[in-house]
């Protein structure tokens, strides 16, 4: 009989979860901004900001909350393993990248210039 051990797919996805959230966030903000600009929605306002700015900031907030939640869960799991440390680390690094990239929408105006 084969010795079945820790399930690889679950652990790998857990370690990569922060990076996956970063990838989704990056795709969404880039795709959304590109599409909104190409289709002429730059002037629409949402919450007093341009559609692009508010959309990107909204997506950034969601992604950041998700990445931080993963990091927090890993840190509080009480399991002191390499995999848990790496899950928290990747999610932490992803959080930094998400904030750094999303903040561009706050500073770059007009969004479609």
């Amino acid at each position: 009989m084969i010795v079945h051990t820790t399930p690889f797919t679950r652990i790998a996805l857990r370690i990569w979860s922060g990076a996956i959230i970063w990838a989704i966030h990056f795709t969404v903000i880039y795709g959304f901004a590109a599409l909104a600009c190409a289709r002429g929605y730059a002037d629409l306002k949402v919450l007093g900001m341009s559609l692009v700015t508010s959309g990107v900031l909204g997506a950034t907030t969601l992604a950041l909350v998700a990445a931080l939640a993963i990091a927090r869960r890993a840190l509080r799991s009480g399991v002191e393993s390499f995999e848990t440390w790496m899950t928290a680390g990747v999610a932490g690094l992803a959080s930094l990248a998400i904030v750094w990239e999303g903040l561009a929408a706050w500073f770059i105006l007009p969004s479609c210039g």
Binding site: M1, I2, V3, H4, T5, T6, P7, F8, I11, I15, W16, A19, W22, A23, F26, I29, Y30, A33, A34, L35, C37, A38, V52, V56, L75, E80, S81, F82, E83, T84, W85, M86, A88, G89, V90, L93, A94, L96, A97, W100, E101, L103, A104, A105, F107, I108, S111, C112, G113
Partner: protein, 846 residues
């Protein structure tokens, strides 16, 4: 959180006792002995393939370097007539292409093929014939591609081949086709290597080598291979699209018919930027192995370095547009990529600080490898800093396409790969050669290369800022570039002198030997320095720390005496131990193949097929394709040996099976990786569809001009039924109802083919032309891609049926069926997504 953990305790007694039975070691030697004489080309041992691979990659480095010297000679003086513009264009195109595609990526795969099995404690990589095939495909493809230079058939479009310059309008002839087909083919070889590396690193580690105890180079190669899986399909699709435009006038890149040249740039750089990290991360992995040995201390911040490798890998996929800052993309979009380009400096810096801290913590042996590492640190950090400069959009607009960029990319690539590689050559030569390379000569090599490099490329920053564009074959005097160019040329010849001296050193000192090599001359701590032979280690050790040779006294002696796992060959053939992916517990024994002609034959005729397609000799290409497929089928027929041997003891009271099926098998893992590659390829096609729609919605048809939705519904239903049929076949095979299983499989083939036929008819009956608009082109491409997968799956189904007829398939021996089933379900999922895209998207998104 826990700090990095120390060594784990060893079991109270080692798995096997002494004395070992007589003849055990001789049997191992006999079984793993490679062929002699001319038949050495049929060898598949990772040691030989690794050395062939490194030698070939280095040959391409030298050839591309010679091209660089010719270019620098031309640019030494203003208005020089040494080379004409056409030849110069060919040279810079071939220099970049060869360095990136035929040297940089292959050489790191080559080092991995050579070193990984020993470093992991395995006897070989899990698919040695695949490694051999990947190498020979690269060898034949690369040599043919290089020779195009001698026939005036080398392309002139630069290593990134931007259309419209590379379309038939501006580049008639077949030179660009050589590039497109050749590079597409070589990328397939790189992907084959990545499959091997992923499965090898995850499944063939020595017992006890958990993820946290893996050598950093293995981590780097794992990350490298995952990046190849997701990045390379984009360039394969890009080259296919450009070739389709050139050969059949499908207008993906022609704005007049709804195409866009920027689509090429997106696809190319989605591959091209990760490529920089695909090159750099393995080199960083080598550095992280060499620095602790030179310093005599474990790597400082191991976990942070692993985090940095993973972090660099994912951020690298968010950088591609920073090569396109000057293309008119909206500023906000540029800002996202600018920010990501700056963010990626964080993981790179983590590694740099780790290496500096490790040096600081120990007493460094200032030998040649250490000198090259210091040269790497100086050079790469400078390249990284200018990288942050060009990540700033306004600066990039000034420096774009000038010699500043040439300087930056060479500081990153030469600094980030070539210096670590020379360090690696000097460091690991004693592991595969009777002699180490000469320390005295090595210092001269380092001095010449380091000084030559900086004399060549540092002035180029200034030349670029002074306005000299890249890729000009000459320039007028008096622009302030004359002296700078002359200095750069002198530096280039200094580098050449260093490389030449290195070749002399290798010729004098390197004597290939896997049984009597110079050994652990550096007092390194990792497993590749264990005594070994053709069979790798005599027995497979239990690993309790990251530097087992430092932390486990007597390890080398006990491994060589056969006191650890699998000291012999209990099945009587080649074999290696498969362990679990996370915690490296022994699971089963993988029976491995012997050498043979199939891999080299398949590679030769696949390369010939691509070459003949380029020169439009279609019948000859078809003959070559048939021979290549026959060789592959011959090769595959010997796979899946079935439960031919009872479970065997490996020591320590552990008895493991020698054949498994399902998710635990190595073949299942490889198929999952292949499906990820396929998914990335299809995602690139979906991106292309959406991108073309974004830039040219006017060529998308209104809903009433689309095929009736009933066709899509029928095709979807047929696809789902075919998947259900195969799932039923799988269940029937498990119950040993073989007849029902094979009937269901055959029914599945019929349903799958019917689904594709319905879809083809739906598109065809609308009169849609692939050459009229980019919409037609991308729709037919999506259909064509699906048709290729259907053809492959149908071929696999017939192959499975043939094996069943030959009595080689049953409920226990079902790996072939499982492979077919996995790709089948993927093909159905891809087909359903394609239907949704082609038939649904234009209806729901006006």
């Amino acid at each position: 959180m826990a700090a990095d953990s120390g060594p784990a305790p060893l079991p109270s007694s080692l798995p096997n006792s002494l004395p070992r039975p007589p003849g055990e070691l001789e049997a191992l030697r006999r079984i793993w002995q490679p062929p002699r004489g001319f038949r050495l080309v049929t060898a598949i041992n990772n040691t030989y393939i690794g050395v062939f691979y490194i030698g070939t990659a280095f040959l391409f480095f030298v050839l591309a370097g010679v091209l660089a010297l010719l270019m620098r000679t031309q640019l030494a003086l203003p208005e020089n007539n040494f080379l004409g513009p056409n030849v110069y264009n060919q040279l810079f195109t071939m220099h970049g292409t060869i360095m990136m595609f035929l040297f940089a990526v292959p050489v790191v795969e080559a080092v991995a093929v050579l070193l990984l099995p020993n470093m992991l404690g395995a006897r070989d990589l899990p698919f040695p014939r695949l490694s051999a095939f990947a190498f020979w495909a690269y060898f034949f493809g690369g040599i043919s591609f290089f020779c195009s230079l001698f026939f005036g058939l080398a392309p002139q479009g630069g290593w990134f081949m931007y259309p419209p310059l590379t379309t038939t309008t501006y580049s008639p002839g077949i030179a660009e086709d050589f590039w497109l087909l050749g590079i597409g083919f070589i990328e397939i070889s790189a992907i084959a290597g990545a499959v091997e590396i992923i499965v090898g690193v995850l499944r063939t580690r020595a017992p006890g080598m958990t993820l946290e105890r893996m050598p950093i180079f293995a981590w780097a190669m794992l990350v490298f291979a995952v990046m190849v899986v997701f990045a390379f399909p984009a360039i394969i699709l890009a080259t296919a699209l450009l070739e389709l435009e050139r050969a059949f006038d499908w207008p993906f890149f022609s704005p007049a018919r709804g195409g866009d040249p920027l689509l090429w740039q997106h696809l190319f750089w989605f591959f091209g930027h990760p490529e920089v990290y695909i090159i750099f991360l393995p080199a960083a992995g080598m550095v992280s192995m060499i620095v602790p040995t030179m310093a005599g201390k474990p790597l400082v911040g191991y976990r942070l370095v692993v985090l940095a490798l993973i972090g660099s890998a994912f951020l690298a996929f968010g950088l591609w547009v920073h090569h396109m800052f000057a293309t008119g993309i909206p500023r906000l979009s540029l800002a996202f990529f600018s920010a990501a380009s700056m963010a990626v400096a964080i993981p790179s810096a983590i590694q740099v600080f780790s290496w500096i801290a490790t040096f600081a913590a120990g007493r460094t042996q200032m030998k040649t490898p250490a000198l090259f590492i210091l040269g790497f640190l100086f050079t790469f950090v400078l390249g990284g800093l200018t990288g942050v400069m060009v990540a700033v959009v306004p600066f990039d607009w000034q420096a774009h396409d000038t010699y500043f960029i040439v300087a930056h990319l060479h500081y990153v690539l030469f600094g980030g790969l070539v210096f670590p590689l020379f360090a690696a050559f000097y460091y690991w030569t004693p592991a595969v050669s009777r002699n180490a390379l000469s320390e005295r000569v090595g210092r001269w090599v380092f001095g010449l290369v380091f000084i030559g490099f900086n004399v060549t490329f540092f002035p180029m920053h200034v030349t670029g800022l002074a306005g000299m564009p890249r890729r000009v074959y000459t320039y007028a005097p008096g622009l302030g570039w004359d002296t700078l160019n002359l200095v750069s040329t002198l530096g280039a010849f200094l580098i050449a002198a260093g490389v030449l001296l290195f070749i002399v050193d290798v010729a004098r000192r390197f004597r290939l030997s896997f049984e009597n090599h110079a050994g652990n001359v550096w007092n390194a701590g990792t497993l590749e320095w264990l005594p070994n032979g053709y069979y790798a280690n005599r027995s497979i050790p239990i690993v309790t720390s990251r530097e087992p040779l430092w932390d486990q006294p007597n390890l080398a002696k006990d491994v060589e005496a056969g006191r650890y796992y699998l000291p012999g060959a209990p099945t009587g053939g080649r074999e290696t131990l498969i362990t679990s992916a996370i915690d490296a517990k022994p699971q089963w024994i993988l029976q491995m193949p012997y050498y043979g002609w199939a891999p080299v034959t398949a590679a030769l005729f696949t390369a010939a097929c691509f070459l003949l397609l380029t020169v439009k000799l279609i019948p000859a290409a078809l003959v070559c394709a048939v021979i290549a497929i026959a060789a592959l089928v011959h090769w595959a027929w010997e796979l899946d040996p079935g439960p031919s041997h009872p479970p065997v003891p490996i020591g320590g009271g552990i008895t493991v099976p020698v054949y498994v099926t399902g998710p635990s098998s190595q073949s299942w893992s490889a198929m999952i990786v292949l499906i990820l590659v396929s998914g990335a390829l299809f995602a690139s096609a979906v991106f292309s569809y959406l991108y073309l729609w974004t830039v040219s919605p006017e060529v998308w048809p209104p809903a009433d001009a689309l095929p009736d939705i009933g066709y899509a519904g029928a095709a979807a239903l047929l696809l789902l039924l075919s998947s259900a049929s195969v799932a039923y076949a799988s269940a029937a095979l498990s119950r040993d109802a073989r007849g029902r299983a094979l009937t269901a499989l055959a029914a599945g083939v019929l349903l799958l083919v019917c689904a594709s036929t319905v879809d083809a008819y739906a598109v065809w009956q609308t009169g849609l032309s692939p050459s009229a608009t980019s919409y037609g082109a991308i729709v037919y491409t999506a259909f064509g891609l699906q048709a290729i997968y259907v053809a492959v799956v149908v071929f696999m189904a017939f192959y499975t049926l043939a094996r069943a007829r030959a009595g080689l398939l049953d409920r226990a021996r079902r790996v072939t069926f499982d492979n077919t089933m996995l790709l089948w379900h993927y093909t159905v999922a891809q087909g359903l997504t394609g239907l949704l895209l082609v038939h649904g998207f234009p209806r729901f998104v006006p």
